[in-house]
């Protein structure tokens, strides 16, 4: 039984390290049940608080997930591959497919919490779209779910002069979505810029994306530009960081 000495790490850290090593070596595999508080108390001869602290270290590192009323399990990471360039290829939305369908060829993606309104552009949105501050923009918010699991929150902003009164401001934007509607008006997106940041979720995002502890989110900010380099959409996306691998291909 490990003991805590002045120059050694606290016992709960040693226990956490043992479990971590078991996961790294494959002795505990994806989805396997991790020894619970009672198991650790018996195995290491420690108090419940120590066993709990060891598990909470691993939960906060995101390598195990606590499932209420069931136990603690090794996190299974089977992410969706989100292929930046390919999913935004004109071949897809030009053919009437929704962009996010490209992320899950087997289907299963749905949107909910759709909300559309017209607002005065906040400064950072106006800058991204090359508009005057407080110029009117159509804002579309929605959440994406895959087989009921929330995956992503997204808020698009489009200049009201392009989007107001069109299907872009409707709840259902029709086949091919926003980009197909922009193309019909002669404003087809031709270039995209995506910026990626990573951070811990806010309490609201934790709820809306049903994230477990130790799960960061990816912020993806996309600007869509026409062939003449006019910005036609700015999209703020927040992705469940445990649900995605982002892929980008480019040339030297």
């Amino acid at each position: 039984m490990p003991t805590s000495e002045n120059d050694s790490p606290p016992v709960y850290r040693e226990i956490a390290e043992d479990v971590r090593a078991a996961i790294a070596s494959g002795r505990l595999a994806d989805g396997d049940r991790v020894p619970g508080e009672n198991d650790l108390m018996k195995q290491y001869g420690v108090a419940r608080a120590t066993a709990r602290q060891a598990l909470s270290v691993l939960i906060n590192e995101g390598i195990v997930v606590a499932i209420r009323g069931s136990g603690v399990y090794v996190r299974t990471f089977r992410p969706l591959r989100r292929h930046g360039p390919r999913r935004l290829s004109r071949e897809l939305w030009g053919a009437g497919r929704a962009i996010w369908q490209a992320d899950s060829p087997e289907g299963g993606f749905e949107t909910d919490s759709v909300a559309v309104d017209e607002i005065a552009a906040p400064a950072y949105v106006a800058r991204a779209l090359g508009l005057a501050d407080e110029a009117p923009v159509v804002r579309r918010h929605r959440r994406y779910r895959l087989d009921e699991r929330p995956m992503q929150l997204a808020t698009s902003y489009l200049p009201a002069k392009l989007a107001a009164g069109t299907a872009i401001a409707d709840h259902e934007t029709g086949p091919g979505g926003i980009y197909a509607r922009l193309a019909e008006q002669g404003h087809a997106p031709a270039h995209f810029t995506e910026e990626i940041r990573v951070r811990m979720p806010t309490p609201e995002e934790l709820r809306a994306l049903r994230l477990s502890a130790g799960t960061p989110v990816l912020d993806v900010l996309r600007t869509a530009l026409t062939a003449a380099h006019a910005a036609v959409e700015f999209n703020e996306m927040t992705l469940d960081g445990s649900a995605y691998v982002l892929q980008y291909d480019f040339d030297a």
Copy 2:
């Protein structure tokens, strides 16, 4: 003073929410000192443990940072922009510049902890490089620092038949780095694929990158391919998630 009732959130969560709102509204700006345990105890009339719990919620969310012996501060996010396609442009390494110099035009980047050896390729490396399992590869590990701050860990793998006995296997790879050396041998990288994942750091990464609590890391896996689509390098990078914005530009 807020009180804890059965149907209201615990007091420490309400205190955390107040501080979060102060940061969101700009009343507390980047780098500002956040009220400490003593301040919160006085202001809310709570015990030290409650004040500490409120601060630890915010620290784990990564929106504030505890500086030992000083206090707790609003996290300052002034990330480096890492422009995927531009930094890997042949114009840069072809002209003898190191790739990572593109991330900080003012300079200040240095590498340390350089370690080079030859190993049998692990299965996932062999797959990425299109080699037989356990084929010999040259492995280059290094850490990147910017003005002394650790920013990134990186481990490159190259087929030994290309890299062994060349400057690629030396501590100093010379002007333009690995890619310039590959080009001299007729194996210039022409295409790149980058895969991005996000997760919480391991204890080793926490130390090596000197991360504060609530800071996720970005894993960037890059494969470099020649014009003939032969894989010539596989690079596993781990970035301090609070230090970078990744940017990718592409066409529809």
